[in-house]
């Protein structure tokens, strides 16, 4: 019986909407426009977050894991001679285990060991890295030559290469603190415009062996998810998992991106709210006109014995049907709009999220129902005798 009644209501509502095709289409267009904007803005926000994350990724890491070194201040009172710091390292295995424990929050990382090596009698600043990690973390590095393919190949910073008159294909012998000398070949020369231009990059395990620091690293650069205040949480979690380590945010990068995201999101929320309010007002106007026109019909339904709530239910169903249909249409339009805006303004393609569909339908329903509150109150209060007389 309930199903029959529901089917009947839908049949009546559909007939009513068809009868007022122009007005129904206008309402649908308003609802679809509002929900499409909400969907588009939501999808653009998501795309921008991804875009900013990509930008952050271009900068490299947003967290640094450093060993907690033993420190001792020398001197007393006004007589201070400085700080004596013990060199300290992190255990590479423990670090990788801790990073793996953070799940999806970690987007990438690179292990670094900074130790000097001798080339003849010249001490060179050398950084041991895993080149596959460097290529992922710093994809814009383009060495002249190529990336090392074997452990005995190195990449040299452009300034250092010029000082040592080295180029891709040249040989260089490197001697570590353990006294062992390893013959190496320059695979490529890199220019970054930063400190890296003055460094020599060699395979991490080779540097560990030459320096007698197997399994040790002096710095870990981490690219973590910076959205919605996650970064401090990740930093705290890493410090907790690695008692001998300090996790520092690369503030310039992380804070800039987070602040930009917040501003963009606030702007988008405000625009969405304004559009929703305007659409709601438009729905109210159109529905009020419809109720005025249908006064006799409402009076008749009440005169035939429908309760006030029963009469309102018919109009609420109409509003719901418009809301759902408008929301669905808005979802499709929103996806197209989001793609257009993202491509033209942010040069990034949007990614369809399944949440767009319930979001669009919810927005459509909310606008249709919120906009119909006033008209439905009129329906509720309408006196059948007066309305049948045409008053």
């Amino acid at each position: 019986m309930i199903m029959k009644r529901i089917q009947w209501i839908i049949r009546v509502v559909m007939a009513s909407l068809r009868f007022r095709t122009g007005r129904s289409l206008l309402l649908l267009a308003v609802i679809a426009m509002a929900s499409s904007l909400a969907v588009a803005l939501g999808m653009v926000t998501v795309s921008m977050e991804r875009r900013i994350s990509d930008e952050v990724r271009k900068y490299g890491a947003n967290l640094l894991l450093l060993p907690e070194s033993g420190r001792m201040d020398l001197g007393s009172g006004a007589l201070a001679f400085g700080t004596l710091a013990e060199p300290a390292w992190l255990d590479a295995t423990a670090v990788e285990r801790a990073l793996a424990g953070q799940g999806g929050r970690i987007r990438g990382y690179s292990l670094h060991l900074r130790e000097p090596l001798l080339s003849g009698r010249v001490e060179l600043p050398v950084e041991g890295v895993r080149f596959d990690q460097i290529r992922r973390m710093l994809p814009w590095w383009e060495p002249v030559g190529r990336w090392p393919a074997v452990e005995s190949e190195v990449v040299i910073g452009a300034d250092l290469a010029r000082r040592l008159s080295l180029k891709a294909g040249d040989r260089i012998d490197l001697t570590g603190s353990a006294g062992v000398t390893a013959p190496m070949t320059v695979a490529g020369v890199v220019r970054t415009g930063g400190d890296e231009d003055r460094l020599l990059f060699i395979d991490l395990s080779r540097l560990q062996a030459l320096s007698g620091l197997e399994g040790r690293v002096s710095q870990v650069r981490v690219l973590a998810d910076a959205r919605s205040g996650l970064l401090p949480l990740t930093a705290a979690a890493l410090e907790s998992a690695l008692p001998g380590a300090r996790a520092r945010e690369v503030r310039q990068v992380a804070q800039t991106s987070a602040t930009l995201l917040k501003k963009v999101q606030l702007l988008m929320i405000l625009v969405t709210l304004v559009v929703l309010a305007a659409s709601g007002a438009s729905v109210t106007g159109t529905m009020s006109t419809t109720v005025l026109e249908r006064g006799r019909e409402i009076g008749l339904i009440k005169a035939m014995g429908a309760t006030r709530l029963g009469t309102v239910l018919l109009f609420a169903t109409e509003a719901c049907l418009l809301g759902v249909t408008g929301g669905l249409a808005g979802c499709g339009a929103g996806v197209v709009l989001a793609e257009a805006v993202s491509r033209s303004v942010f040069s990034v393609s949007t990614e369809f999220t399944p949440l767009a569909l319930p979001l669009a339908v919810t927005v459509g329903l909310l606008i249709a129902l919120a906009g119909s509150v006033g008209p439905m109150l009129s329906v509720y209060r309408l006196d059948p005798v007066k309305s049948l007389r045409g008053e």
């Binding site: 029959k4 009868f19 007022r20 019909e297 005169a303 035939m304 014995g305 059948p384 049948l388």
Partner: protein, 229 residues
């Protein structure tokens, strides 16, 4: 008269709208199955009486009982229930829902009462001679046809009392006679009572009894008896 034989009983029934008195101290008893015609000029209180009998309005004085129910003490929802279970209404201007077909207009009354039954609704329209116009909308029907759809809608839930407010006011002579004959036939078959408001003496002659109203008062109460030729 036994209470079980009474469809309408009013005692000192009155209705005022502010300073305006629309109905004054009406004592009226109508038997079940009777056809009561209410006559009077505009503003005489006919429609006010009809609204009070149909539970669409509340009296400011006295009581009104219809089908054994005292309407004065009923809540809004109870009055709505009373209307859908006991009352059928026919209007001068038909008041059919414009976007529904003839069949759907009748089914709407079923929906308000309980549950829709297309077969039963079709049967009601066939009884009033509208079986060939089931799928037509009101705009596609003549005045007489629309009124027949109204009658089918009014009787579909087997009301105890049929209220007809100038049902032939917009019809020509032929259509008027057809509608009145239909009402007479249906009353004989269904056994409902009729209260019909009209200005027309010829229409009034179709009823069993006529009351004449003026300025909110019943000034004449005649048993008509018989049927016009």
């Amino acid at each position: 008269m036994e209470e079980t034989q009474v469809i309408i009983r009013t005692e000192q029934l009155g209705r005022r709208y502010g300073a305006i008195t629309a109905l004054t101290s009406l004592d009226l008893v109508v038997e079940k199955g009777d056809w009561l015609t209410v006559m009077g000029h505009s503003g005489s209180g006919k429609s006010t009486l009809l609204n009070l009998l149909g539970g669409l309005d509340r009296p400011t004085e006295g009581t009104v009982q219809v089908a054994g129910q005292d309407l004065s003490g009923l809540s809004e929802n109870e009055l709505a229930r009373f209307r859908r279970e006991q009352i059928g209404i026919i209007f001068q201007q038909h008041h059919l829902i414009p976007y529904l077909t003839a069949l759907e207009n009748v089914m709407m009354a079923q929906y308000i009462h309980s549950v829709v039954d297309e077969v039963e609704a079709r049967g009601a329209l066939e009884r009033v001679g509208m079986g060939h116009r089931l799928r037509n909308r009101p705009g596609e029907l003549s005045g007489g046809e629309q009124q027949r759809v109204c009658i089918a809608r009014a009787i579909i839930n087997s009301p105890a009392l049929l209220l007809a407010d100038e049902p032939t006011g917009n019809l020509d002579g032929g259509a008027t006679r057809m509608v009145l004959e239909l009402l007479r036939e249906l009353r004989a078959e269904e056994g409902f009572s009729i209260v019909l408001v009209t200005h027309n003496q010829e229409v009034a002659a179709w009823g069993d009894r006529t009351i004449q109203m003026d300025d909110g008062l019943v000034i004449r109460d005649d048993l008509v008896g018989g049927t016009p030729a």
